[in-house]
Amino acid sequence: MDFLFRSEAIQPLSLDAFLTEIRQDLLAGFQPLAFFGTSEKLIYCLLGKAQELHLRCTPFPEPSRYPSLSMEFPAFHIFERELYEEYGILPINHPWLKSVRHPVGSKPAIEDYPFLESDSALIHEVGVGPVHAGVIEPGHFRFLMRGEIVEHLEIQLGWQHRGILSMFCQGALTDKMLCVEAIAGDTVIGHGTAFCRIVEELSGCKTQAEDLRVILLELERVAMHLSTLSALAGDVAYIMGQNLFAALRTIVINSTLSICGSRFGKRALWPGGVNYGLKAAVIKKLKTEMQYCIEQIHDVAEAMFATSSLISRFDDTGKVIANDALQFGFTGITAKACGIPIDARLDFPMWQYPGFLVQTESSGDVYARAHLRYLECMQSLQIILNLLENADPSAPCQSQVNELQADQIAVSIVEGARGRIVHVAKSKDAQKAMWYKVIDPSSQNWLALSMAVQQEQVSDFPLCNKSFDLSYCGSDL
């Protein structure tokens, strides 16, 4: 399938045509992958279905308002809010038109965010964050509580906003690897590969060492899942699981380190290939360690999911229903855990995953998400082992990156540990990008959390939160 669009192939449509075509696609089962405004005063909309991508655009409406899509297709709510925040284009009767990341100079200021309030005396509010009790990123959760029961949760993000995207258009796009690595330090490879693919598409150069990229990507996935499982066990004070999984994660990320020198896979990737190839010794080491991980993870997980006191906490907690997941366009674990088999590795494969099957769970609660992470760990480790079998230390690891072809739009879609990562970019000239757009899976999935905890015990919130394990900086950018 084709991830590169010549900009003359995408003529701006009239607003009505634009909206109607989007409607048709959505009704035909497409998923909205991206919907954003750009510096060239165009609104782009990227829709995707298995093996198929549609990119459409329309000039900014005059006056800057248009009928909101969110009422019909809720998945758009976050995109439209973003569009409104960045370019002041008002989606008419949008149900929840509030700030997304409070960029510099935007109103309201972050401390004046208009939370939903209740005037009945017996409903009180609890605000958690931005500085959380644990060692995690900042975000603010505002609960409307009926006693210990959560009536409503509103999530306010943007504390992490540091304007990463603005840097992509200054200077040569090829040098922006470090900015990409700074999007989300725990999804370096996910975003990194997406970025590299963009550059490679735009410059039309060949990719070397794809296998190694896959290995790194899967290692990252395993590491993230393990740290989540560890944290989940910790939240219910099951310190056995907590520590054993933590130890396993250390092994995994240390093997990433032995490949590229960073536990998070920073400095590993570069457009055209990878910076550090696989040394024979490393391959050997990896094989044994992955084997160990497979056995150990299996035993720990089986033991953990057989602990009744723990299951009683996981079961039926923080449910997300499949229908909501479809409607609101959740991706990654969140969607798969309620039985929706969407996975970019299958739907939009940028390289081959021989014999890949999407793992799913049906119940959509914390248990489902936790158990799914366990399954995916095993699957990814298997993939890694297979790739290691026929890994060749002498293979070339980087190819020369030639200049970008001007006026082209490239899309890259990668299944990161948290779900579908979408990067879209347009080249301006041989060096620069005109605009660069990043859609982290978290930005859609955050809503799932607030839906999951409604009518739950507030004391179960940290558990639910961890089970989604969403990124703050990824969606704040």
Binding site: P95, L116, A121, L122, V126, G129
Partner: protein, 636 residues
């Protein structure tokens, strides 16, 4: 006696010029005389006993004091003037058009409360009793239309109670042939139960206690204070009177225990949910009467199982609890009155941060709260300690049939005690601590010294009798002897009181030590409350009074009758979320209200009689009594 009552009657004169100041002074004076009299009776052998011969059918009217009535008399003669004193300042802050009539009725109420204690002749007793109910009714109404319903409900309930009493007395008379209380020894069950029920109405025992939570919030604070701390005790006095004259079978005792424990539990389960300060206090009165009742039951149990220790401890606990309750309950009602004056609300969810706005009241209330939840260092603890010991003594009883009621007392007491603690901690925390929850609380001010005076006296009394419970013990000693209980055991209890005081001294010493050390080595400064560093924190971000007991409420659901209204969040983008719940008194809503509605509708026809003219009130009362008399004569 004469002097005391004459002075009290004199007290009516200043009311003509609405000079409540002199009124209070006279009350202090009169009460002093009476107090002296009661003390005489209580501590010396001297017995006051007057016999007035009256024409038949009344016969000889005994006006006398025994140790029991003297004991209550002391409480009244100490408590009433304080109440009047508080009332004086309360009325200053909270003026009423009909000050004169209010003072008059207040006076009548006080005098008749004393009178009840003196009367030995059941009919006359009943008349004074009626006078008491009637006057207290007018005190409650306080010439305010909105109070009328609560007042009328109270009056009706009292009339029903009186009817029971009347029937009981009448039957007793038919059986014993005398109106004098001396004829009530070894009564037949029927009249005894009728009379007990009649008294129960006044004492505030479930299921006939529904008037308290209605009347107390409505009444002006000094009245509710007086009523809840003293007036309802007249009912308990009656019960004790009957009990002192009769012996009971084990099954009867068991039933009493059950009733009292249920009563206390009912009250405390409402107390947990109540948001209206004064209503909460009213419920806690019911709870405390229940506890005292359980103590009495323990005593009776002891008699029955001839365990003198248990008997002694049981009765001792009962008297102590009555005594102490009349102190701290009055104190709490007066403080809540002050809170009402300065905030204009009784809903604790509208208060908050009062301890910072009114530091004095905050401290005093803390003392009261500790006393009422029976925490050490306050007097409430010692009485419950005694009752617990009484129940524990039962563990020595060989027979299971004695053990079970004792166990019931033990567990009920512990459970209710714990719940009461939780409830009052909740009230104090929500009303006095944290951030102000409303504008009213925001600009609350401390009151003038006058309104705090009697609160101060009562608080001192709480701490004094709390830290040195020996005093209180010495005070009830003659009473115990009168119930001819074992005095060695009393001595043992005295000794324990001193032991406990010494323990308190250790605590205080240690605390002082720590305090000094901390003072020496700590630099402190203030900052914002840690709320995860969110820039703008609102008062709404603190747990409401309902949140606070939610874990328990979840557990006690079956015992809690509530009505809720709710707007649920339709996810994920709700526009409006609401939740409210009421905890009405089930007995009241499902039984009493329908009945009393009818009666009060009927009585409303007479609302005109409340015209603020003193003489017409008196005329009304007298007329009522005459009718009553004729009615009774009908029996012969």
């Amino acid at each position: 006696m004469s002097i005391g009552f004459i002075v009290l009657l004199l007290a009516f004169i200043p009311t003509l010029w609405k000079r409540s100041g002199y009124y209070v002074i006279l009350w202090l004076l009169g009460s002093a005389f009476l107090a002296y009299e009661y003390m005489e009776v209580l501590f010396s052998r001297s017995i006051v006993d007057y016999i007035f011969s009256m024409p038949m059918p009344v016969g000889d009217v005994g006006i006398a004091l025994n140790k029991l009535s003297a004991f209550f008399g002391v409480i009244f003669s100490l408590g009433l003037p304080l109440g009047m004193l508080y009332g004086h300042y309360y009325l200053k802050e909270h003026p009423t058009p009909a000050l004169r009539s209010h003072l008059v009725w207040l006076g009548i109420m006080g005098i008749s409360m004393h009178g009840v204690l003196w009367m030995r002749h059941s009919l006359i007793f009943l008349m004074v009793w009626e006078l008491m109910s009637l006057s207290s009714f007018f005190c409650i109404v306080f010439s305010k239309r909105e109070n009328l319903e609560a007042g009328l409900n109270y009056l009706i309930t009292m009339q029903i109670g009186a009817a029971f009493l009347l029937a009981g007395f009448a039957i007793a008379y038919l059986q014993s042939g005398t109106f004098d209380f001396s004829g009530f020894e070894q009564m037949k069950p029927l009249p005894m139960y009728l009379i007990l029920i009649g008294f129960a109405f006044k004492a505030g025992v479930f299921p006939v206690a529904s008037w308290l939570p209605q009347a107390h919030p409505a009444a002006p604070s000094h009245v509710s204070g007086i009523m809840s701390s003293m007036l309802i005790k007249t009912g308990f006095y009656g019960i004790l009177l009957i009990i002192s004259l009769n012996r009971f079978s084990l099954s009867e005792i068991a039933v009493f225990t059950l009733i009292f424990s249920i009563s206390a539990f009912w009250a405390v389960s409402h107390l947990l949910n109540e948001r209206n300060l004064k209503r909460a206090l009213a419920y806690s009165s019911v709870e405390n009467i229940g506890i005292a009742g359980m103590a009495v039951c323990a005593g009776l149990l002891g008699i029955h199982a001839n365990l003198p220790v248990m008997t002694m401890l049981g009765f001792c606990g009962a008297f102590l609890h009555i005594f102490f309750h009349s102190i701290f309950k009055a104190q709490l009602f007066y403080t809540s009155g002050n809170i009402l004056l300065s905030t204009g609300t009784l809903d604790i969810d509208e208060m908050g941060a009062l301890a910072k706005r009114m530091p004095y009241t905050g401290a005093m209330t803390l003392i009261g709260i500790f006393a009422i939840s029976a925490l050490p260092l306050t007097n409430g603890f010692f009485s419950e300690f005694t009752i617990f010991r009484a129940a524990m003594e039962a563990m020595q009883i060989p027979s299971i049939k004695h053990l079970l009621p004792a166990l019931l007392i033990l567990v009920a007491l512990a459970f209710i005690g714990a719940l009461a603690l939780i409830a009052f901690i909740r009230i104090y925390a929500v009303a006095f601590l944290g951030a102000p929850r409303s504008q009213k609380a925001e600009n609350a001010k401390e009151l003038k010294i006058g309104a705090r005076l009697s609160v101060f006296f009562l608080s001192v009394a709480i701490l004094l009798t709390g830290i040195v419970p020996g005093i209180a013990l010495r005070f009830i000693k003659p009473l115990l002897r009168w119930f001819d209980l074992d005095m060695q055991i009393y001595a043992g209890l005295q000794q324990q009181a001193t032991q406990i005081s010494s323990v308190y001294l250790i605590i205080i010493a240690m605390f002082a030590l720590f305090f000094v050390v901390r003072r020496l080595c700590v630099k402190e400064k203030t900052g914002t409350t840690w709320a995860c560093a969110y820039p703008k924190v609102k008062p709404k971000m603190q747990s409401s009074s309902m949140t606070y007991i939610q874990p328990l409420a979840y557990f006690l659901k079956p015992f809690m009758y509530k009505t809720t209204t709710r707007v649920k969040a339709e996810h994920p983008f709700p526009q409006k979320i609401e939740y409210n719940e009421e905890h009405p008194d089930a007995v009241w809503n499902l039984v009493v209200r329908p009945v009393s509605r009818i009666i009060s509708n009927f009585l409303l026809l007479f609302a005109g009689i409340h015209n603020g003219k003193t003489n017409s009130y008196i005329a009304w009362a007298l007329g009522f009594l005459v009718i009553l008399l004729v009615w009774v004569v009908g029996f012969r």
